[in-house]
């Protein structure tokens, strides 16, 4: 069982809840699909935790926020710049360097891991419709493409005619994904899920049954939100005010 976690965004509480949920669901392997940092109050703890998984063989790809923290020096709004500088300071040069060294895209067997679109990973294009999903799947060239970036869980599947179709998955329901077709799974965001539901989102891929199960995990999002405010970061958190 392979756990797929994207868009953690420095949210330690959400990450811990998802990892615990995945472990009890039988996960033995892990893939982190980018955007470990940004928005949340605990980028250092999150990076440390993901690095421990990476040391044990987990796949980690780079997201746009990771790349910005590592490299960006161009123009941006004042709030964004403050967050960027704060994150660099909290992380330290070593972790920032590690984020900068992450690959954009990893292919293993029939699986491709990429934060945004496999068609142009460094351009951070959103895979948010059938056409962009098809482009990503074609570029990936494998049966299963696992991505984040779009903070909403969607499963795209290829038709025999070559087009792709979007399916809104039902959390907790295992969907068979035989590799006779192409599949693009947008696994949702661990740290900043959308859809007016603060529960953290991730997915489990069962490589024996070749099925994918999207998950939503409730966690203490109020504490996470409080920590963001306490750190003086812009309040972009999901969920209700405390």
């Amino acid at each position: 069982m392979l756990a797929l976690l994207a868009d953690i965004h420095g949210n330690l509480e959400a990450l811990q809840a998802c990892l615990e949920h995945a472990r009890s669901g039988g996960a033995t392997r892990y893939a982190f699909l980018g955007d470990l940092v940004g928005y949340g109050a605990d980028p250092a703890a999150v990076v440390q935790m993901v690095r421990r998984y990476a040391a044990e063989g987990a796949v980690v790809v780079q997201g746009n926020h990771d790349a910005w923290v590592a490299k960006y020096s161009g123009a941006m709004s004042e709030g964004a710049q403050d967050t960027l500088l704060w994150t660099r300071k909290v992380l330290g040069a070593e972790d920032v360097g590690w984020l900068g060294s992450l690959p954009l895209c990893v292919r293993q067997e029939q699986r491709c891991y990429v934060h945004a679109s496999a068609a142009s990973p460094a351009r951070w294009e959103y895979v948010d419709d059938a056409r962009s999903a098809k482009n990503s799947a074609q570029a990936a060239g494998v049966a299963w493409t696992f991505s984040g970036h779009v903070h909403r869980q969607v499963l795209y599947f290829g038709a025999w005619s070559g087009t792709m179709t979007a399916f809104a998955p039902v959390p907790g329901n295992a969907v068979p994904t035989a590799p006779t077709r192409r599949w693009v799974a947008i696994v949702g965001s661990v740290g900043q899920p959308r859809e007016r539901n603060p529960a953290a989102a991730y997915a489990l891929f069962d490589s024996v049954r070749e099925s994918i199960t999207f998950q939503r995990v409730p966690y203490d999002h109020l504490t996470a939100a409080r920590k963001v405010r306490a750190a003086g970061l812009p309040d972009l958190f999901p969920g209700e005010p405390p």
């Binding site: 025999w160 005619s161 179709t165 039902v170 006779t180």
Partner: protein
Amino acid sequence: MSPRSTASERLMPGEQIDDFIVWERLHVGAQGMVYRVTGPERGFPLLMKVPRFQSGEPAENLISYETEAMILPVLSGPHVPRFVAAGDLRRTPYIVLEQVEGQSLESMLDCSPMSADDVARIGAAVADALHSLHKQEAVHCDLKPDNVILRPNGEAVLIDFGLAWHARFPDLLAEEDRFAAGSTPYLSPEQLLGVRGDPRSDVFSLGVILYELATGELPFGAPASRGGLRQRLWMAPDPPAVLAAGVTPVLQEIILRCLEPQAENRYRSAAHVAFDLRHPHQVPLTERAVRVRGPGVLARTRLWWKAHVPTVTPTPIKRALDSAPVIMVAVDTTHSNDERHPAIQRETRHVLSRSDEFRLVCVSVISAPPLGASGADGASALHVEHLVKLRSWTAPLGLPAQRVSLHVIVAPDPARALVDFARRNHVDVIILGAPRPRQQPLAWMRSVASGVTANAPCSVHVVRIPEPKEPADASAMVG
């Protein structure tokens, strides 16, 4: 990666595939072949369906196979064959499932036109099966006599889920509309326009089956051209009573309501179809019941125009069914002055306010009249007396006639009679009164409310009126 071509490869008797040994071939069709197989003992006979693939053409049969292999394993209950195993699509695609014992509805068409009673009995059994499927968030999408087997006990089993749709799985046929057609004589208008996943499409197909059983004819023929097919978007069929004298006005009402071109004019739930087929005296008749010809030019033009306006997307199946519940209220007509009646009426009104397409079933269970006191006339007079009381009980609710039905049941054990009635009629919620908490301790144990609550197949709203305030020392005097 491509599955092996089974078009030319016939499995031979005695051949072993995974855990199963293949025996005689039972059926050869355009979609594939069906063999009898044996395998690890399950307590029921087994079939193996092997899809037929044309080499180099990944088409209809393959997608149907994938669809059935995805949906059948998650379905349960007596109205679908039990799933046993599926082969790997890349090596040996097959599905092993229960061989359902019984008679195909197709083979019973030889007896059509059937009597209204037989049509109602078979139709209600098929509607039960559809409702069971719809409650599991699936739509069959290819309902036809070939795909219905009647077990010896009268229950219907739906088979062949190759074109089915399930709310929790991707619809592999969504983008393949040249395949997703289904069987043309039974196909609903909206399916023709590519809309899938609406349970009312199955209700339409059920209407075609009822029409065929009742008249021996297909309401829209078996058109081969797309233009001919599209006629059902605006054409109403000949009223069935015109074709077969045995069709009662009630049966015609039910059939034509199932066959309404616009889905919103049909029954929203197959449970309601089953209910009407089982309780013909409770079906309010409309213009449909007495129709002697199809719609006039004006009505047809209106429908034709509507047929060219894009249809709305179907409501999610769960919400659609939730909005069409069967709600049963137990009314004690023997004790008309019981102080609980207004409270039960209030609760009923409250439950009804949550849906717009409900069916309210009011049931009174009475005991048999004393022996020798009456005879048939007396029994019937008693029945009418309680029906009148039931009707007056529902009057304050101000409900239209087609939403309410009234039932007086003579039975010695009211709790059991209510539960049986609820089970047979797909009741979603039961409302009934309970004794006061401080009535003698055994009152609850002996009450109808406790018997129904313990055994009901659905939720039960137990209505209780608050205990009046008593002096502090009153409890010492109780019991």
